[in-house]
């Protein structure tokens, strides 16, 4: 495995375009090492970098399945595991987004509750 490929995979792990972001987020949320992740996917650890440089599967149901199967076939990884990893990370992202929106609402509500300086003085 080329060191440059590994470096590139590391560089894009926060870029949601790449599968690297999914694998990185999943491993982080589950406390997994690379070797654990590779074992789950049934592929050699060395393949993770190349796998990471794939585009993240498109979310629309027919495309999602097509993309996951394409990646799984090409790299010999377990399609059902890859699909569940992507869905898991999607759920985490969605939950975080909801939580952020909720926090935003709460902060806005708190701002409304606090009397303005002019009101306090009057």
């Amino acid at each position: 495995m080329s060191e440059r490929l590994v470096a590139l995979a590391r560089r894009v792990r926060n870029d949601p375009f790449f599968l690297a972001s999914v694998l990185h987020e999943y491993a982080r949320s589950e406390g997994l090492e690379e070797a654990d992740l590779a074992a789950m996917l049934a592929c050699p650890v060395e393949m993770l970098a190349t796998l990471s440089l794939c585009r993240r599967p498109r979310p629309e149901p027919p495309l999602f399945r097509h993309d996951v199967e394409l990646i799984a076939t090409r790299f010999g990884v377990r399609a059902e595991v890859l699909a569940s990893i992507v869905r898991h990370v999607d759920a985490l992202t969605s939950m975080r987004r909801d939580a952020a929106v909720e926090r935003g609402f709460l902060m806005a509500a708190r701002d409304d509750d606090e009397p303005a300086e002019s009101e306090e003085r009057s």
């Binding site: 080329s2 440059r4 590139l8 585009r55």
Partner: protein, 211 residues
């Protein structure tokens, strides 16, 4: 043998990879990086001695990522994918060195009160500036075209001349630029040679150097 010396990927392979990128094949970015990243980085390092290899690696990464994000930026009818990536990576390298130079000069303005040039800090030596090394190398490799020549060239001739100056040797790359890929190989060779010879003569007549 290093990857830069190994035989280049066939033009058709680059074209197929590009088609897969455009079509949204999720495995195409990985295959692109796998095929071109090492070759591109090695090529940059080879052609820019004196520049930190890490910067060359980053420039190669930048070129690969840019193509992945915007595959339409490459037009296969103009040149091979490898030539396109080399040109793109060379541009990225210059940008990186330019921003490195800006960073260094900003840092110098802060450190000027603390550091003495006599202490041997190479930042004070303009000749050691990586961006200047690349610019100098480019200047040495490529004297400017004789005035007026560029305007007389067709788009294809201009691209062929660019490739010649880049040191490109492969007939298939020139054939792709000239739209000859459907013709028999022998015919491609003859036509490419004819165009290159004609360009060399025009370059000589205009007062420039030969390839």
């Amino acid at each position: 043998m290093s990857p830069s010396e190994s035989s280049p990927p066939p033009v058709d392979e680059g074209r197929a990879l590009h088609e897969r990128l455009v079509a949204g094949d999720p495995t195409a970015p990985a295959d692109l990086a796998n095929t071109f990243l090492d070759r591109l980085a090695n090529w940059l390092i080879l052609h820019n001695p004196g520049v930190d290899p890490h910067i060359c690696n980053t420039a190669a990464e930048d070129a690969i990522l840019a193509l992945i994000r915007n595959p339409a930026s490459y037009r296969p009818e103009k040149q091979s994918l490898e030539v396109y990536l080399r040109m793109s990576a060379s541009g990225d390298l210059k940008n990186l060195l330019r921003s490195e130079r800006r960073h260094v000069s900003r840092r110098m303005s802060w450190e000027v009160v603390e550091l003495s040039p006599a202490a041997g800090n190479c930042l004070w030596d303009e000749d050691s500036d990586p961006a200047r090394i690349v610019a100098r190398a480019d200047d040495e490799k490529r004297p400017p075209l004789p005035s007026g020549l560029q305007e007389t060239l067709t788009r294809e001739e201009s691209q062929v001349l660019e490739l010649m100056l880049e040191g490109e040797r492969r007939t298939e790359v020139y054939a792709a630029v000239l739209g000859l890929t459907n013709r028999p190989i022998l015919e491609q060779r003859l036509e490419v040679k004819r165009v290159k010879d004609r360009l060399k003569k025009r370059l000589e007549r205009a007062g420039g150097r030969r390839e």
